[in-house]
């Protein structure tokens, strides 16, 4: 039996249970158990289509239509879901060391995991919209959990704009439904390729791009996302940024599948590349100006999101694979960096000028964070290097050498602010007194374990990138545009 829907259903079920028993004494234990269950989930599905309610393909006037909701699993989606669940597990494990942990946090994380995996798995546009909205409301909830005024404010902003963007996205879905008579992405793409394009389809494309920019945190929505990441607890930001990266990847793939073969795609590609380049540059420039370590990392997330979107927007097989691979790598090392930021915040403060000399207090953590930083810059033995190299290759073969120059410049900027942060937090000399103060704070084993695991994965993927690339390449060729 194909157990594919359980990937979504089990987290949802447990989310309801956790939100009901949120004040129980055993929350920590249950959360740990739940984390173990999550690790098994990606292995449940079989490759191929899965029809909900047994409603398969029907032929209407010789055209095949999927009558119900269709999920498909392929190696690409499996890899994405595995990464997502892994980071979810680590975040849940870390959360058990928090004071005042309650079931609401676990419930929201599970709800987010379920909805993002549904967005990745689904082949149905309306189903995607429903789970996209759940993800939006969940992200706002995870920020509200931090409980400070700025957190409330950024959640409010996010929801206000998000309701607008969500409605616009739904309007796009509706327009596509009217133009093609189906909600299944593959059916829609087939129909659109047959018939001449109408203004309705252009409008739908426009609205899907708006939804993509909001869900993935491309400009001009990046300020909202940055607020989200920097106002919550940094380890929560780790899962938040994973959500938005994967929503970005999923929606990009949807746009490629729907509009890939159409004459309009050339313009679309231009718009998407422009958006991703803006994200890259804006993120880097703003990160250079930050004093707050969390905000610096948040802007870094935006700029790396630009890389992911750039690769996918190219539409070539290599570009798609490179983009998705960079998304996975980014989720790994960025989560490590956010967990590191959580440790730094716990010990002293998130403001880089107030810390200093942490190297002496915790050499292991420093080393691990340095590794994650090197991975994020793109230094050879780490995974960031592999995916950035691949991206540069893809951009070169798409005949845009200027963008490679820009990518290099942005990488230099990344190097600069990452090293600036590293110097200010870990290397800058500090007084004996401060050092004693640092040593009083105990760092939990769970934090170091999660950090170590993520860094280890970064190194493994950097040495053997084929582990992931082999699974992505066939799909990249399938989706790619001529």
């Amino acid at each position: 039996m194909n157990l594919l829907p359980l990937i979504v259903v089990i987290p949802l079920l447990m989310a309801i249970v956790f939100s009901y028993i949120y004040r129980s004494k055993y929350i920590r234990l249950l959360t740990l158990l739940m984390a173990l269950v999550l690790l098994v989930l990606p292995l449940l599905g079989l490759y191929g289509p899965y029809f909900f309610g047994g409603h398969g393909v029907v032929y209407i006037e010789g055209m095949p239509f999927v009558s119900g909701i269709l999920y498909t699993l392929n190696p690409l989606k499996e890899t994405l879901i595995f990464t997502l669940m892994l980071i979810g597990v680590l975040v849940l494990i870390i959360s058990t060391r928090e004071e005042r942990l309650s079931g609401t946090f676990t419930a929201l994380v599970l709800m987010g995991l379920a909805s993002v995996s549904a967005v990745i798995l689904t082949e149905d546009l309306f189903n995607l919209y429903v789970f996209y909205e759940i993800a939006a409301i969940t992200q706002a909830g995870l920020v509200i959990l931090a409980g400070r005024e700025e957190a409330y404010r950024s959640a409010f902003r996010y929801l206000l704009v998000g309701t607008m963007a969500g409605s616009i996205l739904l309007l796009g879905v509706g327009l596509l439904l009217s133009a093609t008579g189906s909600l299944n992405i593959v059916d829609m793409g087939r129909y659109l390729a047959l018939k001449p394009l109408t203004p309705t389809v252009y409008g739908a494309l426009l609205m899907l791009i708006v939804g993509l920019a909001y869900g993935g945190g491309l400009p001009p929505f990046h300020t909202l996302k940055v607020d989200l990441y920097s106002r919550t607890k940094p380890f929560v930001a780790a899962i938040l940024q994973t959500y938005s990266k994967f929503i970005l990847i999923a929606l990009m793939l949807v746009i490629l599948k729907l509009f890939g073969g159409l004459p309009i795609f050339n313009t679309t590609r231009g718009v998407l590349i422009a958006l991703s380049v803006f994200a890259m540059v804006f993120g880097t420039v703003m990160a250079l100006l930050q004093d707050d370590y969390r905000r610096l990392l948040a802007y870094h997330t935006v700029s790396q999101g630009g890389y992911v979107a750039l690769g996918l927007a190219l539409g070539t097989p290599l570009g798609i694979v490179a983009g998705i691979f960079h998304g996975i790598n980014h989720a790994l090392y960025k989560s490590a960096l956010f967990i590191g930021a959580h440790i730094v915040e716990k010990i002293k403060s998130p403001y880089m000028r107030e810390v200093g000399g942490l190297l002496l207090a915790m050499p292991t953590v420093t080393f691990l964070i340095l590794c994650a930083k090197l991975a994020s810059i793109g230094i050879p033995p780490f995974n960031g290097f592999q995916s950035k190299l691949l991206l540069a290759e893809a951009v070169m073969s798409a005949d845009m050498p200027e963008l490679v120059i820009l990518m290099l410049i942005v990488s230099i900027g990344t190097f600069l602010y990452m090293m600036k942060a590293f110097y200010l937090i870990f290397l800058k000399p500090c007084s004996e007194e401060q050092l004693r103060e640092y040593r009083e704070v105990r760092i939990s084993k769970y934090h170091i374990f999660s950090l170590g695991l993520l860094v280890l994965l970064c190194i493994v993927l950097g040495l053997y990138p084929d582990m992931v690339l082999d699974r992505l390449l066939p799909l990249g060729e399938e989706i790619a545009i001529e």
Partner: protein, 119 residues
């Protein structure tokens, strides 16, 4: 005028009006109302898509022959989508109203530019 076209024009006008309210009105509650107007416009677009000239309500009553009924019935799919979207809109609305209550208690004003100022 064609009823369906009239509905589409109304729906388009609702969406555009809602967008106007969302972008240009500086009051949280009014912004939220504008968002719900956008949502209504989208819902109206969807419902109007299911319209069929001289159609039946999509609930079968055995007094009509099924063949005739199924040829003239309004499309049920957009209506189902609208039902789902109404609940989604209501949920978003609830959270935003709750947040605006908290911020009103703090600032004693509903001006967006005061509540959501730079920080």
């Amino acid at each position: 005028m064609d009823l369906q076209l009239a509905s589409f024009i109304t729906a388009g006008a609702l969406v555009v009006l809602g967008l106007y309210g969302f972008f240009f009105v500086d009051n949280v509650i009014k912004k939220i109302i504008a968002l719900s107007i956008i949502s209504s416009g989208v819902n109206l677009t969807l419902v109007a898509m299911g319209y069929r000239e001289g159609g039946y309500v999509p609930i079968y009553i055995p007094t009509v022959e099924f063949q005739v009924f199924s040829k003239h019935m309004a499309y049920p799919l957009p209506q189902a989508l609208v039902l789902t979207n109404i609940v989604i809109g209501a949920s978003m609305l609830a959270v935003m109203l709750a947040l605006s209550i908290v911020f009103y208690r703090k600032y004693r004003t509903l001006k967006t530019s005061v509540i959501l100022k730079e920080d």
